[in-house]
């Protein structure tokens, strides 16, 4: 990745006032389609909630989870959401610490995605519980030796850190909105009033803010790595074939960056189009972001080769059964489709510059993201059909896993939930940081709040 530091947009010089108005404009514009979109998401969530209510009353028997496959779609979703949420730390922390300033306009998008995703990760776990009212037993009575307890702690901590890291760089922007959005509905103005915490843009305030941001982007790194490493340990510490692997931690982290980067590319495309931010999310940003996608994909490919080649070479009995099923058997079409359409082909295509343009790269990112979800499914489910001890006297339908309508409805609701969180954040806050954008374009005045 070669980055041009302090990269400026191709579209020439804009004044601070122009930038500010460009980035605030989408907040005034509550278009018809935006309302249709929000209502659509709410309908999907309500349908999911009805299905979940049904599941609460009737029990997990409504899912397809049985003796063999005790983890199903919900846990796949959980792993997927944790993976996507890691993008906040990659863009906002890693790239920032490496002074990759081209990524500054994308940082807030990635933080919003992170917040939406980690919320749904937590929700997915509770959804998977037969008795969600007992969730507090984990911190109260959990064994500290259990990765479930570590996971509970780290998911909640990451949720808080993600929210703080989204909020801190927002403070100066919220102050701008507080002063400019005087025609907004009362509740919206109240939000700005409270969240801007009396920001005046004094030198001391800037110093404190920059210090806080710096602390948080360093703190988020170990927590982000922990959350996905611990998630992988939920699998890896069991003695199950296909899970019991020493590289599972980095394998999951690498895969997470792939999923998150793809999600960011899709979000960038949608926001650029819907919010008319062509001058701020430029071809240059897509070019750089897709190079990042290729980099993460290459690392992920490397881990994939390790993960399948080593057990494939030694072919221990149960490993062999599992790999046979995955590479040549029942799961093979899905597996190879994911590996080729979701990993190998995107790497090759994205090496060509025209493919890194907004539209083609968004289509590729869709494939990568869907592939990332299927990959989680293929990690979670097939292993469970190769237990160390055979399970006896079970009905035939226990021996394969096909999600029920309940599971699909609830899963779609979590997807809609994450999208609704992101949509509502974008409704209220600018997706591109106003002050950072101005700063990156060489406007170095420290904004005094306009009264």
């Amino acid at each position: 990745m070669s980055a041009t530091p302090n990269s400026t947009s191709e579209s020439g010089n804009k004044t601070y006032e122009q930038i500010r108005e460009d980035l605030i404009r989408p907040l005034h514009n509550n278009s018809f389609w935006n309302q249709v979109w929000i209502r659509f998401l709410i309908i999907v969530i309500v349908l999911g909630a009805v299905a979940y209510g049904h599941q609460l009353i009737k029990g997990l028997g409504l899912t397809a989870m049985r003796d063999y496959s005790a983890w199903g779609m919900y846990i796949s979703n959980f792993v997927f959401w944790v993976a996507v949420s890691l993008i906040g730390s990659l863009i906002s922390a890693i790239l920032k610490l490496l002074t990759q300033n081209w990524a500054n306009p994308i940082s807030r998008i990635s933080e919003m995605i992170a917040l939406g995703a980690i919320t749904m990760a937590g929700a997915s776990i509770v959804i998977d519980m037969g008795r969600p009212d007992r969730v507090l037993n984990i911190p109260l009575h959990g064994r500290i030796q259990s990765p479930i307890v570590w996971d509970f702690f780290v998911v909640n901590t990451y949720l808080v850190i993600s929210a703080i890291l989204l909020y801190l760089p927002l403070i100066p922007d919220i102050a701008i909105l507080r002063d400019r959005m005087t025609k907004a509905p009362k509740w919206q103005r109240k939000i700005y009033e409270v969240l801007s915490i009396g920001w005046q843009g004094t030198q001391e305030q800037w110093r404190l803010l920059k210090k806080s941001i710096r602390i948080m982007i360093i703190l988020i790194l170990p927590v982000a790595f922990s959350i996905h490493t611990v998630t992988s340990w939920l699998f890896a510490v069991t003695l199950r074939t296909g899970w019991h692997s020493t590289i599972f931690g980095p394998y999951f982290v690498a895969g997470a960056f792939v999923a998150g980067s793809a999600a960011v590319v899709i979000a960038m495309y949608v926001f650029r189009k819907r919010l008319k931010l062509q001058d701020y999310l430029t071809d240059h940003h897509f070019n750089m972001m897709n190079k990042l996608v290729v980099l993460t994909l290459l690392i992920y490919l490397y881990f994939n080769i390790n993960e399948y080649l080593v057990p494939g070479y030694s072919w221990k009995r149960l490993d062999g059964d599992h790999l046979q099923e995955l590479l040549m058997g029942h799961e093979a079409p899905l597996f190879w489709m994911t590996q080729i359409l979701g990993m190998v082909l995107p790497i090759i295509l994205l090496l060509f510059k025209p493919m890194r343009k907004p539209l083609p790269s968004m289509v590729i990112a869709l494939f990568v993201l869907i592939g990332a979800w299927i990959k989680r499914f293929l990690i979670v489910i097939p292993t469970q059909f190769h237990p160390q001890f055979p399970i006896q006297n079970v009905p035939e339908h226990f021996t394969h896993y096909i999600p029920t309508y309940t599971e699909i409805a609830v899963s779609l609701a979590t997807l809609a939930g994450a999208l609704l969180i992101i949509t509502m954040l974008v409704r209220v806050f600018p997706v591109v940081p106003i002050w950072e954008e101005a700063h990156d374009r060489g406007i170095h005045k420290i904004f005094k709040a306009e009264k």
Partner: protein, 305 residues
């Protein structure tokens, strides 16, 4: 503001829809099973098997094998899945013939038992009838059971003796009483007697004790014998004896703390988890403090403007 009201009423509608759904499905669940009509010609079929001790005992063992899992030990429908109560007024009011017909048919989760001979099914029906009888209908007798251990050269032999205790305290050997003998294990009693162990005329049963049962680190086992007869009050005895195989304590089962409960938590893990968790949250709190400072700073400069 109009839009706000609009939104509010939308949320209200969705909420009430959800509440209605939860209400309906809750009562749908609480409702009992749908009626199961039996044809008249099946209802009038008479039970040819007399509800004597033999029939009831055979019925009980078949019930334990085939019915107990769902209908529960006492027939209240409190087994592993939701099943009909067999002691309810509703159930007991039907004829034996109707029950037999239902056993033949099966419905939903309840399988058909057509494959079993009818006389066995009549035994079960007799037994199920006895479940709802109140205890005072039967005069219960008292018994004591005792265990004797007899170690010969290579063979270990166990004798369980049942004696009936009369009202005047006199003990007499009880013949033809079923006795269950087993070894106490982690999750229950491991049976070592066969299912048809009835005492001889001197009130005894003899069992050759298997050599391959694993005991504790001294080879000690707890052996339990209990009287299983419907005319007798429950009686049981338990004795310890070192007839098991020695199960040495080893590091992996005793000390390997990563498997065990919090009492065995390894110190390094406790320290790294707690220190890690506390330091992350201390940093978060420090940042919260900085944000508070930003607010104080803003209030100050807002005043000076």
């Amino acid at each position: 503001m109009v839009k706000m009201n609009h939104m509010k009423s939308g949320i209200f509608k969705i909420g009430s829809l959800l509440a209605a759904f939860l209400f309906v499905s809750f009562f749908g669940f609480a409702q009992d099973f749908a009626p199961w009509p039996v044809p008249d010609e099946a209802s009038v079929v008479k039970n040819p098997v007399e509800a004597n001790k033999t029939s009831l005992e055979a019925g009980k063992s078949l019930y334990t094998l085939q019915c107990k899992a769902c209908h529960g030990e006492t027939g209240r429908g409190d087994g592993l899945i939701k099943a009909a109560s067999l002691v309810s007024e509703n159930f007991q009011s039907q004829t034996d013939g109707a029950i037999l017909w239902k056993l033949h048919q099966g419905r939903g989760q309840m399988p058909s038992f057509k494959a079993l001979p009818d006389d066995q099914l009549w035994n079960v029906i007799n037994y199920v009838r006895s479940l709802s009888k109140k205890p005072e209908d039967i005069i219960m007798k008292n018994a004591v059971v005792s265990l004797f251990f007899n170690e010969k050269a290579e063979q270990k032999e166990l004798t369980a003796k049942v004696e009936q205790v009369n009202d005047n305290g006199e003990k007499l050997p009880a013949q033809g009483i079923k006795v269950n003998v087993g070894v106490q294990k982690y999750f229950g009693i491991l049976p070592i007697s066969s299912t048809s162990n009835y005492t001889s005329e001197n009130g005894e049963i003899n069992i050759v004790f298997p050599n391959n049962i694993i005991g504790d680190e001294n080879g000690e086992l707890t052996i339990i014998a209990s009287v299983d007869d419907m005319e007798f009050n429950p009686a049981r005895v338990s004795e310890n004896i070192s007839w098991g195989q020695i199960n040495p304590k080893d590091y992996w089962s005793e000390r390997r703390a990563l498997w065990k409960n919090n009492d065995y938590i390894p110190l390094w893990l406790l320290i790294s988890f707690t220190v890690g968790a506390i330091s992350v949250w201390l940093v978060i709190m420090y940042v919260a403090l900085l944000v508070r400072k930003i607010k104080i700073e803003g209030d100050k400069s807002g005043l000076s403007d």
